[in-house]
């Protein structure tokens, strides 16, 4: 039956080679075995429409695939699905300066959009360590956040228009760049964060921001976890932050070993906060630092003296994911409201110490957004499946603590395969019922990324 793909696509745009199946069948997660039946590379919206219609009438499951940097198995194909890669729909086709709007195909790599914006004297402010590989389509499908959310918001905030091919094969053009449009349901936002379960995002109009003023980076040493939040509120009371990230010394140790870097502070401290702010707020920031030292929250800090150093300091945070990857981390990506953080931190810290006494735990995250990445590292001697099974047993306890604060079990990585069975900790049965109903309308044949999210 899959021979039909050769008729739908031009030569060289369909592959069934074992290497390709293994490559495009998985994302950044390592727990699942890639087993797609084919990979296709559409070059136009019409090819996507034809594919969806064919798949709908033959009941063939499709997995939308972007840069495959996802951390929840959303782009994994492990049940003979056809992977639909946007690698060849990667053109930036239009720029409208008056609206600061860029039209890009789904496969445009995030860093290329950032670079394009910079060339126009503007910026695309959504940024994270994977932006050199992730695609705009994937970012939208996961509503990616990253390191500048505290100032610039999530991917959702920059999506001004979407062209989508729904699971029923219809082309939907949702809000074409308008700032104001009060004409009923904003379908655009339904597709943001939909993880490929409703349709294919084929093109997006992304809004650009003004270029940021010159920035400074400060890394502060904070001996006690809870004091990170004191530092955050002290900083936020007096200056506009572009980033407020934190990481534990275990995470720093992994980065220093992996990238051969020196310790930022002259002595090691249990936790670090990395903050970024406008250069002209330096005096305020220094005053807050002094206040933090006087209050006993902070013991030392370093300040970037150039953009080059700012980049080097950022590496300490941005290289964490990559540096812990060889340890097969089990990733938790949880969030609560900032106000609920202190009690939540205590609860999770105790729980982790009790439940994971034999595992190395690595904390870091976008704590300025109430978002923690709790990574459990696999002991070298332990079998991967056994390790994941153990983590899966403990996860409900962590998620219960999240649920008690009305928090989210997936702040920005998405639900995918990894968190699907835990969705109930963050969404009520009524909500999940509505989600299923919406999926039924937009994906009547159930061909869009089945088994993910719901």
């Amino acid at each position: 039956m899959l021979e039909a793909l050769d008729e739908l696509f031009s030569p060289g745009c369909v592959t069934r080679a074992a290497d390709d199946l293994a490559h495009w069948g998985r994302d950044w997660t390592t727990a699942y075995k890639a087993a797609p039946s084919a990979v296709v590379f559409p070059k136009s919206i019409h090819e996507v429409v034809a594919l969806v219609r064919w798949a709908g009438s033959h009941g063939v499951a499709l997995v939308p695939s972007g840069g495959r940097t996802g951390l929840s198995g959303g782009a994994v194909a492990n049940h003979g699905e056809v992977v639909v890669s946007f690698d060849r729909m990667n053109a930036i086709s239009d720029f409208r300066p008056a609206d600061r709007l860029v039209t890009c195909q789904a496969g445009v790599v995030t860093a290329n959009l950032q670079g394009f914006a910079t060339e126009q004297g503007l910026s695309y402010p959504v940024d994270f360590a994977s932006s050199g590989s992730s695609q705009i389509g994937g970012n939208i499908a996961t509503n990616a956040g990253g390191i500048k959310v505290i100032r610039y918001g999530l991917t959702r905030d920059w999506v001004a228009g979407l062209t989508v091919v729904s699971g029923s094969g219809e082309i939907l053009e949702c809000n074409q760049g308008l700032i104001k449009n009060a004409t009923g349901y904003d379908l655009r936002h339904l597709f943001v964060g939909s993880e490929g379960t409703l349709g294919f995002i084929v093109e997006a109009q992304m809004r650009l921001a003004l270029a940021p003023p010159p920035q400074r980076v400060m890394v502060l040493g904070v001996p006690r976890f809870a004091d990170i939040l004191e530092v955050l509120s002290a900083m936020q009371a007096r200056l506009v932050l572009s980033a407020f990230e934190f990481f534990a010394d275990q995470a720093l140790a992994k980065v220093m070993a992996h990238r051969d870097l020196q310790s930022p502070l002259s002595a090691r401290v249990a936790f670090y906060a990395l903050i970024e702010f406008d250069d002209d707020a330096l005096e305020e920031a220094t005053a807050v630092f002094e206040h933090c030292v006087a209050s006993g929250w902070v013991v030392d800090a370093v300040l970037s003296q150039s953009d080059t150093q700012a980049g080097q300091l950022w590496q300490l945070r941005e290289a964490i994911s990559e540096s812990i990857a060889p340890f097969t981390p089990y990733k938790n990506d949880i969030s609560v409201c900032i106000g609920d953080m202190p009690g939540f931190l205590d609860a999770v810290e105790m729980l982790v110490a009790r439940e994971y006494p034999d595992f190395e735990v690595c904390w870091y995250g976008h704590i300025g957004d109430g978002n923690l990445h709790l990574n459990i590292l696999k002991p070298e001697s332990m079998d991967t499946q056994a390790f994941y099974a153990r983590c899966h047993e403990i996860s409900p306890k962590v998620f219960q603590a999240v649920a008690e604060k009305n928090g989210s079990i997936s702040a920005e990585h998405g639900v995918g395969l990894l968190k699907r069975d835990f969705l109930g900790f963050s969404r009520s049965p009524a909500e999940i019922g509505v989600m299923r109903g919406l999926k039924g309308v937009l994906d009547p044949h159930g061909i869009m990324n089945p088994g993910k999210l719901l």
Binding site: E290, L303, T308
Partner: protein, 250 residues
């Protein structure tokens, strides 16, 4: 033992520079400036000599406009004890800088003068050498290791395809290579302390030297734009292009 470290204010290495439309130079308006990376290594080496109890004073020096004070303050935060700015609005070049530093050295009598091996703006790699000649001091250039030994300096030099170890008597000039050390970050407590450290300003004329440029820049051209790559569909096509277009295989 006194160590003098000349530092240069240059465009931040992270900045993508643009050539001015009239090709007279690089556009510096609103461009971020920083301490030349090789000079950062020089400061670090001097501070380490102090920390090891081998040096007693580190003096950072810049030749340039008053804006250089910003970079000198950074050096003070990194551990220099005091700083001197030889102020001039001239477009300073290696020979002028070397002359001004020589005049200062006549007063300071530093035992070791540590330069960066080159500055990332002009890429001249001349100032340390010219200074050594003017001051009549031995030089250990492109150093990747410096060890004081019996009143001399043992210097490992990075040379084409290998390393050379030399010994120089004091007073001596060192120029730093990339691998000499990894500079530390400036800590906030030290940045605050640096505000109170002495930073003296004098003019080139005070020192009786003429730092006017002797080399005139005729034209500056940006590098040719790289052509965008193409994606090939098959191995055969790749081989064909390598053979017939790029002509890198036969």
């Amino acid at each position: 033992m006194k160590v003098m470290v000349p530092v240069k204010r240059v465009v931040d290495a992270n900045v993508k520079v643009r050539v001015k439309p009239d090709n007279t130079g690089v556009d510096l308006t609103n461009v971020k400036m920083a301490v030349n990376p090789f000079c950062e290594i020089a400061i670090e080496e001097a501070v380490r000599l102090t920390e090891a109890g081998l040096a007693t004073e580190v003096v950072a020096v810049a030749v340039g406009t008053s804006a250089c004070q910003e970079q000198l303050r950074t050096c003070l935060a990194l551990g220099a004890d005091r700083a001197v700015l030889i102020e001039t609005d001239e477009d300073v070049q290696p020979l002028g800088i070397a002359k001004a530093l020589k005049a200062l050295q006549d007063k300071e009598n530093a035992d070791i003068v540590i330069f960066g091996k080159q500055s990332i703006d002009g890429d001249n790699s001349q100032t340390g050498q010219m200074f050594a000649a003017l001051a009549g001091m031995p030089q250990g250039t492109f150093a990747s290791e410096v060890t004081p030994e019996d009143g001399k300096l043992k210097v490992t030099r990075e040379i084409d395809g290998g390393l050379q170890t030399i010994s120089v008597s004091l007073p001596a000039v060192i120029t730093t290579d990339l691998r000499l050390n990894e500079p530390r970050y400036a800590s906030l407590p030290n940045i605050m302390k640096a505000k109170k450290k002495p930073l003296d300003t004098m003019s080139a004329a005070d020192l009786g030297v003429d730092v006017a440029p002797t080399v005139e820049v005729v034209s500056v051209e940006p590098p040719e734009e790289r052509q965008a790559g193409v994606k090939v569909e098959t191995v055969d096509e790749l081989v064909d292009k390598l053979r017939n277009e790029a002509k890198v295989i036969t």
